[in-house]
Symmetry: C2
């Protein structure tokens, strides 16, 4: 008798989502954050929960990433030249809080994450963590080096620095690059996390 076929994963069962935080460096920060949250379209397939530190956005990869890009862009427009930082964590493949047990191996639902240009330029520092549980060990740097090669070819690459790749460009293009590398790494590695730190309207160094 054949083993029962496990049901196909979904974004929720696969633990796909983001944590995002906006940090406007102005006395108007509450207005900027609340206005951006109210102005950003929220598709029904997304789950949003806010903590004292950040907001969880759960759902399909593309919708999660598009929401993050739209939210940062809305905050940047409301900031109207004020300095704004934003932190984005994307995670896939670890559905529990402390365990990543899945009946499937690596799974992705798409080839790339498309994000339109946001019309907002940023500096960014980016890191990618392929967590190779059950993949036979070794070579966790291979997908990282592949991702950096993609970044170098994208026109967004600025420099390598300790622990991060520095990018500069449109917020939407940066999120598309980062999220596509995260998704593609997920084709071979179940649990993949990436962190992106964005800096907009920095007073000291233009971009």
């Amino acid at each position: 008798m054949a083993a029962p076929t496990p049901s196909a994963p979904s974004a929720a069962t696969y633990g796909i989502g983001a944590r995002i935080a906006l940090h406007p460096m102005t006395d108007r920060y509450v207005d900027i954050i609340t206005t951006a949250l109210a102005a950003t379209p929220r598709p029904p397939e997304l789950e949003l929960t806010t903590s004292p530190v950040s907001t969880f956005v759960g759902g399909p990869d593309a919708a999660v990433v598009r929401y993050c890009a739209d939210l940062v862009a809305a905050a940047a427009h409301r900031a109207d030249g004020a300095h704004l930082a934003a932190q984005v964590l994307l995670s896939r493949g670890c559905p529990g809080e402390v365990t990543c047990t899945l009946r499937h191996g690596p799974w992705v639902d798409g080839e790339a994450v498309a994000v339109p240009d946001a019309g907002v330029r940023a500096w960014a520092e980016w890191s990618l963590y392929p967590l190779l549980d059950g993949q036979g060990g070794g070579a966790h740097m291979t997908p990282i080096m592949d991702a950096i090669a993609t970044a170098r070819a994208s026109g967004l690459f600025h420099s390598s620095d300790h622990f991060v790749t520095r990018l500069a460009g449109d917020v939407g293009a940066i999120l598309a690059l980062v999220a596509t590398a995260w998704l593609r790494t997920g084709a071979g590695v179940q649990h993949v996390v990436t962190h992106l730190s964005l800096s907009i309207n920095s007073p000291t160094q233009g971009v």
Copy 2:
């Protein structure tokens, strides 16, 4: 003939360091950041380099972490009640930008990271990434679960949430907990990264 004994690792050759960013949510943010940087003691063994997004702090684990705690505390005091976020990335075991080739296996120089209380309370969201290159694969969640058990026993644990452990307490105690878990994971895993997002003086939810 015996193989030559490789020279002992150092913090620099082992790639130990932090990236830290301060985000004071007030019009006074430049003053708060520059005052905190000027007021924080900088031991000669630390290397500091500032980028448009964050500051790199390289050196021995304990000195790096103590510097980060002191810098956040100095910023919090200067903020004088204004909302302040801080991002801390700690990394060890990957000395290059894109490669982690070392002649040694896992190496730590100490049992724990001691940080005095800072007198500043914070919410925090914490994640730990053991990157198990060459460790035989599997079980990357074991050190994460060990770290969460340590957090639960510390009195700083608030809750588990998607992708992060939420902590609440003194900034120094939080950094000691996080850095010690990072160090201890490093005893068995060469390349270990941890991310900590701190929120101080949040107007919406007290801590």
